[in-house]
Symmetry: D2
Subunit: 340 residues, 4 copies
């Protein structure tokens, strides 16, 4: 169950609630300032808790990730970023280079994103690289370039943060903090982005189950940060014809289990530029809220991820296709409703 607290509950009242739970033989975990989670739905306890001072409501939830679950929060979560609503009926388009290369480059790309009708500019400043001897990103300089591109175009920006100590720094520049696949279970980092209050995009780990992914989202939500979106970016399988296997099955499954918006990343998911459009279309048709893709004016010359990066013409075509698919998914029902 989730015990929802009234605003401004003081220490004595809180202690009384926690003691009541403990006396009943259970443990209460504080999930931020607004909620307490108990791994049980005991009805006697529930009735008793409802009578206590400081308790707004008690909600039965069976899920191991209560705040993230649709059981607890039946409506879709909507996240507003720079005037655009993520999780609503309009599909969200995020695009940009894998690595930020130079100010000219990021501005040229931002303008292409804007012109095509995209909503968010992506770009890597702190880059997690398999080799210590690869380019690790421009760091804060890169974030400054992105901020200038935002000024020019009005597009909100998203960039990855890799360690708890850098959350404050990155949050100063970006509109959405990205947690990369390698860090999906970096719990100190999840807690820190939770505390930041900024919108967070949580990528699915390379071989994370959907349950583990939602449990990781719970780490962020349990810090009173409700603005989490999930990003399916391909899982690791035995298949080598594609870089990863974009798992679109996860889209309706997550929408069934959780109220958080789901974005798909066909660039990393399939890993070859000629298949990106097809997988973007498929992601939207599966009910995803949006797509995030890697674009570059000359993909062959991109500093990283060249093989999966599309050019501006391909991007324009993709935006058109994605919008047409979104419109076709369902004229009567909400696009993101799971309906068999």
């Amino acid at each position: 169950m989730v015990i929802i607290l009234r605003p401004q509950v003081n220490y004595t009242i809180l202690k009384n609630i926690l003691s009541t739970i403990q006396e009943a033989g259970f443990t209460g975990y504080q999930a931020g300032k607004k909620a307490i989670v108990v791994h049980n739905n005991d009805e006697t306890l529930q009735a008793k808790l409802k009578t206590l001072e400081g308790v707004e409501n008690v909600v039965q939830v069976k899920s191991p990730y209560p705040l993230t679950s649709r059981e607890f929060h039946p409506e879709n979560t909507l996240i507003e970023v720079g005037g655009h609503v993520i999780g609503g009926d309009e599909p969200t388009i995020m695009a940009g280079p894998c690595s930020i290369e130079s100010l000219e480059n990021i501005i040229e790309i931002a303008e292409a994103v804007k012109k095509a009708g995209g909503h968010v500019l992506r770009g890597g400043a702190f880059k997690p690289r398999s080799s210590p001897y690869s380019f690790q990103g421009h760091g804060e300089e890169g974030l400054k370039m992105m901020a200038l591109a935002r000024e020019k175009t009005g597009l909100p920006i998203i960039s990855e943060v890799m360690e708890p100590e850098k959350v404050a720094l990155v949050a100063e520049y970006v509109d959405i903090l990205q947690i990369g696949a390698r860090n999906m279970q970096n719990y100190p980092l999840l807690r820190e982005v939770g505390k930041s209050g900024k919108p967070v995009m949580l990528k699915r780990g390379l071989s994370a189950t959907i349950e583990e992914w939602l449990m990781s989202a719970e780490y962020v939500l349990a810090q009173d940060n409700p603005n989490v979106m999930l990003c399916e970016r391909g899982i690791r399988t035995y298949e080598t014809a594609t870089r990863n296997t974009l798992d679109l099955n996860a889209v309706p499954v997550v929408q069934h289990l959780s109220h958080l918006p789901v974005i798909v990343d066909p660039s990393h998911g399939v890993g070859k530029s000629q298949y990106v459009n097809a997988m973007a279309r498929a992601g939207i048709a599966a009910g995803a809220t949006g797509v995030i893709v890697e674009i570059h004016p000359d993909p062959a010359k991109a500093w990283s991820d060249a093989a999966q990066t599309i050019d501006f013409d391909q991007f324009n075509q993709m935006v058109d296709d994605v919008n047409r698919i979104a419109a076709a998914v369902s004229p009567t029902l909400s696009r993101t409703t799971v309906h068999a």
Copy 2:
């Protein structure tokens, strides 16, 4: 390279071609009566072969599955079954029960398929079951029931064949022979369905790579049977939230590599009825030629695969959704063209 033979080449002429190949240090493999495959593209040999009696043409192909490859056969393969063209612009809808249960049941279902605008009736007569103590299908009796359902509705029928000795029997009744996932590399069976000349639907093995799948198709094509369609039905991954992982990435990849039509099976792919529609839509948006689904008037009472079977209302909705998506994929280009 593939050496295309003129019709009615006699033994002496054929022997001369094979000797010429051997003298050049290579091996020629007969692929039916119409082609010889050499694992090499030596230009001198190619020039020489073109001058030989009985040789219609010589085509350079690098692929390990030459007849199946788009290199060899750039146009999409179209397969006509019962008046419907598989591989064309109209999405193909195949539907029916997992197991054929009774004559009334299969007729009721066939009528629902017909009414909804479906094109092919599926149904299991010979069932591969993990346990020797599960219902193994009605066998030939089941096929007779399907044939009656075809008479009633005009729908062509598809059913699985599991062993070489039964190919002739099953082919007598069905319009399309299905090779199940467990038999994707049952080479004697592939040769036999090849020889039958009937259209074949080859399901991808549970953990087959795309290359292995196309190599298995080659076994059928190498018996002079060009009427092969491929069916993506989910691969095995670590994820347990879904029965399998429907690998939609395979759709554009296969279309890039091969000219054969690709059908997706969201029922087996995702394995839970509430997600079937979303995955059917996504499959079509990815560019698939059609979908095959399990339907039943009362899924909870289906003899097998109950959890993944949809009812008639859900099926009607799915057909509508799939058709709307197909129309939206691209108004200008062919829906099955791979375009990034």
Copy 3:
């Protein structure tokens, strides 16, 4: 439960047993002439069945593969082949070429196997190949060569059979019928090798779960053929540094769940000759009953599987190492006992 029948039960008696089961609301499945399987352990029914004519005993079994389970048959199954006992304390060594190449070649190899202290000669006559244009084995001619090698050395022989129609032919020559990984769920083939009464080695499918593997063994046992050994030969994972991932975890798990002997195949399992010895040692240390490996006088010239084939010196070293490990596993307990 498993109902064990008395010898020579006639039709009327059998029918009475099956009717009694049906009247209780269950289904009885005949597992050969000696047993009936019911997916339930209802005690009233059990008591009643024990009183019926023709019933020797009734054994409670919860496993979905009752005859294969250790619940039903607590002692290890021992299989005697050519004077050697598979499943006993001495580790079984099977070795030979991937493909039988020529009579001289197979005799040379057989003599090396014999000399090193091996027990069974392996060799491929009917070869399942991914490409229709690869060498498919010498077929019956190959089996004749193996039979001559057996005559020369006294070693029993094992070879693969790929289709039901060929079981009688292959069984005429070999001492053990091998079911390859691709055919683990080829049920008509499993039934046929069951009926043959010959010892069978059932390889685990490329991505078969342990439960599916044991269910496939049940198909053979349900034909009154108790002489089944299981062979772990590597599963498909995302790792590409090895050909497959030899899953040694399966060894103690299978020994816990089943009474059938387990052989490991490090050649296919790891797929690179330099790692074969280490994995053979590890397999025996995990408790496997024996190993099967590919050897060749000159691996680089082997017609197939060259990369994973070891030469005679490496084989001699491996036999020594494996025997030393087997002796070290446990001086007091049986080597194949699962003891944490």
Copy 4:
């Protein structure tokens, strides 16, 4: 290539070396104070570099993880911890509870480890947990308890560190810093443990390739910390009969590619206590340097990982078995030599 620098190279000399590399068209990456890595083996450049001031030697290496590779460092790395040598002929035994529960508990366990002949005490103080509502470990208090257990028994201790900011704190207490599977690609953390100079045990990520694992080790070595051991702890596959799939194939592969010691963790690898001994034996037979296991006086009451934890009797038996296997692996060659 790797350019090995003379001790105490000053800035001007270093700058000259880096410029020489750049003028030749390549990039030089500093790997600590002692080496520069260039992703190329150009012979002209190599000859030139050898003549420069400050250059001790230049070594040709093709591997993407040069310092970690056996190409660069042919001898096994030996790591001395508390008087015991990891990587030598005696197998290393590390054992302890999943979570440190109380001072009495950890001391009782430490004494059992010592008595059985174990070498290192493991215990979790900072615990990465999938759920934010699970026990997250005693933190620094836990480390203090471990330090007291070390005082009592003389056993060196190993514990996990989860974030860069905590490295200094954890390093103050432990003898070996453990990087958990979830953090294998947490690069800021890898750099920080590298800088600490402490021995590091790097667990393989849940679905990391062997190459990615060795690249992560390179991050540590590139900070002048040569004391890295690798720990195989099971990979994620489709199999559900075991918690993970302990990939023993990785043992000989890593020993072939790298000079770093390899430890196996059968507790997490197979995840069920009854199979831990078999997999420990198999790991040592495959050539691993040691094993790390979870033990508890009463596993059923362990605060975490109860199902995979063995009791003291089982542990004593395992130590005996492992030592007997280690002695048997090879009397003439070094146990960790890869010899087919």
